[in-house]
């Protein structure tokens, strides 16, 4: 039987029993849509969150800290040693000093993170308002929103405000005593951006603006490798050197594992809906089989082979399931887009950020179409076999 005739014979059900066929397709569509929506939600949440916390480079970056600064300080020598590790592309140190920041009459205690602009890139750090500093020797400062609040700065107005910086330096005297000196930096810094952090008060300032301090010990070094596959190797080497290493990619891996679990759970809900639809479809095919028993008898009597009958039924259930799959994709897009629109409207109303809650990877759409067709074959195969093996005479006499 060629394809044209196969289609012609199998798809009569769409014109002769449009209501039943339509309902079966919708059931299948709803089942498929359930899976799609749940899985898209899982993917959407994952994607949204990962986009928030990561830049592509931050994923290739390892954070190196020392377990004990007195025994194993992170010095310039160590820095250059680390930068010579195989596949290391870039290193960016960070020194932390306590201090105070003042704006007019207001003064606030804070922690100063002294770093190169590259540190932001490697750390995946972004601002909420304004920009990060881009040059090494600019007199600019990036502060956390917690600090901005304590300086009574709000929103855009904070940008370009001039602040005074004083640092607390620990000096060891000749007698071996620790003494804290306050260093007031003469020239004021202007605020270039604010990082979204409502809890911790801190500020970033460029390293070269404090050249005179001759900072030789760091609290943390960010190490970027050239490709993701080198992370594990670099990690091992750094650990051998005695450092504590953590990487964002580890965290992302953990998060991905959690999301994978969420997706599977959500997908399982969808699968239940789909199983219900598939059973409904098998039921419809069985009813169709009974209804067409006489027709099967006729066809076999005038020379249809068992295979012809089987193919006809199988093609029909495949077509129904395929259309169910396509319909399900349509329903999924309709529902996920409208839900997204509603959520975003609410979010904007409450001052939040617009996000896309749903994300359907294109491979998943292809998978779902193939999968739904497969379900069609599965739920059609038994009725089809039964139809094919039916005794011709009994089928002919069936009314």
């Amino acid at each position: 039987m060629d394809l044209k005739n196969l289609i012609k014979l199998s798809l009569r059900t769409f014109t002769t029993r449009p209501a039943r066929t339509g309902l079966t397709i919708s059931a299948m569509g709803v089942g498929i849509a359930a899976i799609l929506i749940f899985v898209s939600l899982g993917y959407g949440l994952q994607k949204t969150m990962l986009e928030q916390i990561t830049t592509a480079e931050s994923l290739l970056t390892l954070d190196v800290t020392t377990p004990n600064p007195e025994i194993l300080p992170l010095t310039e020598e160590k820095l250059s040693e680390i930068s010579k590790i195989e596949n290391t592309e870039e290193v960016s140190p960070l020194a932390i000093l306590p201090g105070q920041i003042s704006l007019g009459p207001l003064t606030s205690d804070t922690t100063f993170n002294i770093c190169h602009p590259s540190y932001f890139r490697l750390g995946g750090i972004v601002t909420k308002i304004g920009k990060l500093f881009e040059k090494e020797d600019e007199k600019k400062v990036v502060i956390s929103s917690a600090l901005a609040e304590s300086l009574n700065l709000e929103g855009e107005k904070a940008i370009n405000s001039e602040v005074k910086v004083s640092l607390f330096l620990t000096k060891i005297t000749e007698t071996g005593e620790e003494r804290i000196e306050t260093l007031e930096v003469e020239t004021p810094y202007s605020i270039s951006g604010i990082i979204d952090d409502e809890i911790i008060s801190y500020a970033y300032i460029p390293t070269d603006t404090l050249k005179d301090l001759k900072i030789s010990e760091f609290s943390q070094i960010k190490v970027k490798v050239s490709q993701a596959k080198f992370i594990a190797g670099a990690n091992e080497k750094l650990a051998q050197m005695g450092f504590i290493v953590s990487s964002l990619s580890d965290t992302v891996d953990e998060a991905n594992k959690i999301f994978r679990a969420i997706q599977i759970i959500l997908g399982a809900f969808g699968v239940v809906a789909l199983i219900v639809a598939a059973i409904g479809m098998a039921n419809t095919m069985t009813v169709t089989l009974l209804e067409r028993t006489n027709e099967i008898g006729i066809m076999k009597a005038i020379g249809a082979s068992n295979r012809d009958i089987e193919r006809m039924f199988l093609f029909e259930s495949m077509a129904i399931a395929f259309l169910g799959g396509v319909g399900g994709i349509g329903i999924n897009f309709l529902i996920s887009h409208s839900l997204n629109a509603i959520v975003n409207m609410l979010a904007r109303g409450l001052g939040g950020q617009a996000v896309s809650l749903f994300y359907t990877p294109s491979w998943f759409i292809i998978f779902i179409i193939v999968f739904s067709t497969l379900i069609g074959i599965l739920s059609g195969i038994f009725p089809a076999r039964r139809a094919a093996r039916m005794n011709t005479l009994e089928a002919l006499r069936y009314k």
Binding site: M1, N5, I298, I302, G303, S305, L393, L396
Partner: protein, 421 residues
């Protein structure tokens, strides 16, 4: 001159090996020559349709052989059978059997749609056939919009789409008024004469017997008479005489109480049938009079009767009296069952027990014999349960019974349970 169809000692038995076994065809032999118009004639239930379906390869013979063009139908592979149904024969049914959801033209082309290895025919061919049937204007209509006579002509066109040499028609005018019936019968006659097709037609209506070259009169699964039509020039090597052969009416199967019961009853409960059988048996052996028998039939079931309506009871008893009076050898022919060995009885009972719990039924006598044989082997402990199941499952050609796996397993399990007891 060689006949194109040869039927040798053909028997078809339904529910083989079960207690409701029914003989549909009993040892039928005949030969049909190319270009003949043949009618199987007889009352309903005489086996004429069964014979026709055997020729079409739709019914599996229990015994005997059918040769079409010298080839035994039982030896055809599945594919060859498909091509037999499509290329060698055309089928016309009483109920037309068109597909209501396909246009007339597509219905005629339907056999062609199931391609396979058989070369296709063009839709022009279908159109020209419709034209021959004088219904070419209806090509794009759907069958339910057509009259019965028109539908039957569509069915004939469909049967002829592959130009088969043999046309089989099962009561083709049974559903038609006399005018339409005449048109269809004339059409078939024309197909026989002008296209020189062999037409084999089944009917219970004596009105149409004149169309045929030869008529096979059938009753109770047997050909009781073969009559040539003196008005038509014979094709086969027959003298033009009216009755060629006459088979004696065999009444033996009728005299069995069960056959009687089946003859009378269609949809009664088992207990009712059993009670009726007992009554018939008593009457057959002359233990009760006709009046007593009638009373038993009429008496309510609760009071030990069969529980029929009075009129039914009367009609039943009349029918039975008629048959009894016709059978002169009543006493002699009472089946005196040969004493069976104990193991044979056990085998038979077990086989019945197995078959009766099964929806399907065996088709060939040889299958039944093999089943009996395997049960016997199992009883004698010569094979184990597993081997028994395997042999049931084995295809017929491989020496087994050819049951499907589930049935074989069920049978084996049941048998093992009985053996435990």
């Amino acid at each position: 001159m060689e006949p194109i169809i040869k039927v040798k000692n053909l028997s078809v038995i339904y529910n083989l090996g079960k207690s409701n076994e029914a003989v549909a065809l009993d040892d039928v032999s005949l030969e049909i020559y190319s270009g003949e118009y043949i009618i199987f004639y007889g009352p309903s239930g005489c086996g004429k349709s069964t014979l026709l379906y055997c020729l079409a390869g739709l019914e599996t013979p229990t015994r005997g052989q059918i040769l079409v063009y010298g080839k035994a139908l039982s030896e055809l592979s599945q594919e060859e059978m498909v091509s037999h149904r499509r290329l060698k024969i055309g089928m016309v049914f009483q109920a037309y059997n068109l597909i209501p959801t396909l246009r007339v033209l597509d219905n005629v082309l339907l056999p062609n749609i199931f391609g396979g290895l058989i070369p296709g025919v063009s839709s022009e061919k279908a159109e020209s056939l419709l034209k021959k049937m004088a219904i070419e204007t209806l090509a794009n209509r759907y069958p339910p919009e057509l009259s019965g006579g028109q539908q039957q002509r569509v069915a004939i066109a469909r049967a002829l789409i592959y130009d088969p040499q043999i046309l089989l028609a099962d009561e083709p005018v049974g559903n038609l008024d006399s005018v339409s019936a005449k048109i269809v019968m004339d059409t078939l006659s024309e197909i026989n004469e002008k296209l020189t097709k062999t037409v084999i037609l089944v009917t219970h209506d004596p009105f149409y017997l004149d169309y045929a070259h030869r008529v096979f009169h059938m009753k109770d699964g047997r050909i009781i008479r073969e009559v040539t039509n003196p008005k038509r020039k014979q094709i086969g090597p027959f003298e033009e005489m009216r009755v060629i052969r006459k088979a004696p009416l065999r009444i033996k199967p009728l005299l069995q109480p069960r056959a009687f019961a089946q003859y009378l009853l269609t949809s009664f409960d088992r207990p009712v049938i059993r009670r009726l059988e007992r009554g018939i048996k008593k009457r057959m052996f002359g233990k009760i009079t006709e009046a007593q028998f009638r009373k038993i039939l009429d008496r309510p079931f609760e009071k030990g009767g069969v529980g029929l309506y009075r009129q039914t009871a009367e009609s039943f008893s009349q029918k039975i009296e008629r048959v009894l009076s016709e059978s002169e050898f009543l006493k002699e022919e009472i089946p005196t069952e040969q004493p069976l060995a104990e193991i044979d009885i056990r085998v038979r009972n077990l086989r019945k027990f197995l078959l009766e719990s099964w929806e399907g039924s065996l088709k060939k006598e040889e299958e039944l014999n093999r089943l009996d044989n395997f049960i016997r082997l199992r009883l004698e402990g010569k094979i184990d349960g597993k081997e028994f199941q395997r042999r049931l499952d084995l295809p017929f050609k491989g020496g087994g019974v050819g049951l499907n796996r589930r049935t074989a397993r069920n049978f084996s399990r049941k048998l093992e349970l009985t053996l435990l007891r």
